[in-house]
Amino acid sequence: MKPNSDYLTFSASDFAGDEAFQDWVLRPNEENETFWKNFTSEHPSKKVEIDGARMLVHSIQFKKELPTDTQVEESLQKALEHINAKGHKIRRMTPLTVWWAAAAILIILATGFYFLGNRDNGMDLPVVAQQNTKQDIAPGGNKAMLKLEDGTTIVLDSANNGMLISQGNTKVVKQDNGKLVYESSTLTPQSTTLQYNTLSTPRGGKYQLTLSDGSKVWLNSMSSLRFPAVFIGSERIVEVTGEVYFEVAHDAKKPFFVKYEDMVVKVLGTNFNVQTYTDAPSIEVTLLEGAINVSKADKEALLSPGWQAGIGQSGTIKINKQANIDEVMAWKNGNFVFARANIQTVMRQLSRWYNMEVHYEGNVTAHFGGTISMNVPVSKVFEMLEMTGGVKFKITGNKVIVLPGK
């Protein structure tokens, strides 16, 4: 309610446009009834305007069109099925879940680490010779390289499945579908020094890793994780670049830390994503489940599920409490998800997965939203984007020209 002095100068349409007045006319309750009754009796000179305004507000109506009950129920059933389908299960707090839920941190650190960006060492995604005549660029796949403490490097794409090496009492096993598992045996005595390994993915690569404590890590393209073969001591510390998702295994006695330069994420029990690509405007840490503490220099922030911390160049930490989890986690599920993204953001993400040279001709002002599998040639992605009418693409070899739609 505005102060009485304001209302005294109101015309009828002023009253009609006033939020509090409208609430009284349309949704009377004890509070507003009392206020307006008092006001009218104290200021009879305004009665004309008030009555005129009441009449106006009352008279404005809208046609009412409702769905049938059947329509509503069918839609609801579809939604409930979707929610309860595989992949959307509500986590039940069984003892096993409690143990795993301790720390799933999705840390996507976009550090723009161009590992294996050099064509000469042959790790780049090749432009596939097309069976059909249409120009296209193939999607990426499970590619990574593992570098051991002593400098030995193993290319995981071409390595055979099974045990690759053993480090002390830890066996490193390569499994199908781009997974690497560190199996720690407790039988033999542990070494007292940390043996650091680095897993890195090239452009167009992705890989999954299980650490010796059971924590699971997913690496997106152009990313890396530096970690000890076995965690020794009272802390578990790893370092990342690029985009990495963590599901950290619970161990209250050994807190888990993820570091990128001077940024530290302390895991208090969660699933979270960290994105630190240097060509992205800021570092983003997104929390899915549990709690994490993000700190950089002298600033820190405690995150709750669904929150995203954006760490700017200047070191400020901005919290977005309504992170678009679908968009953030899309890559782990093998999808691109765009939510009102501009063309630069879209092309930036695509460039990490598809080996292409992007050129812009003209100004694309449209924004894009949608989901598409990552496991398709780039022409399919372009098809979807072109459907909006906001952009057009031309592919020549691995050169892509981006043009405005119309």
Binding site: A12, S13, D14, A16, G17, E19, Q22, L26, R27, K47, V48, D51, G52, A53, M55, L56, V57, H58, S59, I60, Q61, F62, K63, K64, E65, L66, P67, Q71, V72, S75, L76, K78, A79, L80, H82, I83, I90, S304, P305, G306, W307, K321, Q322, I325, D326, G369, M387, T388, G389, K406
Partner: protein, 192 residues
């Protein structure tokens, strides 16, 4: 039935029954809202379904927001407009890129009045912009606050005030004062 905070709270705790209650309520509201903009039921149902699934997805953050419902009105509107655009450009590549607006026929005057006044009012409603009609619909019918309407329409709160004020001023001009008032005035004059 209004969706109060206990329903949102229960949804945020994975309560599917509460979700169903909210779903039924909001589905009807979105359907009615969608019908003001376009008649194609399939597009409306898809947009409503999509935005309501979003509620479940975002359920852990529901209690962080003051009015969770508003966010989903916005999602519904955006989803509907996007789908309309997609369908338009698919069917008629050269079609105008102007977004569909709030249908003038959907806004009516409920009052006994002379034919002449009625005609003038109907013309006045046609003269309103689609945005003005939509803002008034969201305020009067859906009961969203000006601030919430601003979020849904992607404009500032100040702009929302202006839009509504201008619309009401235009309509008020045409409406005569209620006869009760005229009688009162006359009686005052006579008594004096």
């Amino acid at each position: 039935m209004p969706i109060d905070s206990t329903i949102w709270s229960r949804i945020s705790q994975n309560d599917q029954e509460a979700y169903a209650v909210m779903y039924r309520e909001y589905y009807k509201r979105f359907y009615n809202y969608g019908k003001k903009i376009i008649s194609d039921e399939n597009l409306i149902e898809d947009a409503a379904h999509e935005s309501l699934l979003l509620v479940w997805e975002k359920r852990s953050s529901l209690m962080e927001v003051k009015f969770p419902g508003t966010y989903f009105y916005s999602a519904f509107r955006n989803s509907l407009i996007t789908r309309i655009r997609q369908q338009k450009s698919a069917e008629l590549p050269d079609a105008s890129l102007e977004d569909p607006g709030f249908n003038a026929e959907q806004m009516i005057f409920e009052r006994e009045m002379g034919a002449e006044i009625k005609k003038q009012l109907e013309q006045a409603i046609l003269n309103l912009t689609p945005r003005q009609r939509e803002a008034i619909f969201l305020r009067f019918y859906e009961g969203l606050s000006f601030e919430e309407i601003a979020t849904v329409l992607n404009i500032t709160t100040k702009a929302t005030y202006k839009i509504v004020a201008r619309a009401l001023a235009g309509l008020k001009e045409i409406l005569p004062y209620p006869t009760l008032i005229l009688v009162t005035l006359f009686s005052e004059i006579l008594n004096f």
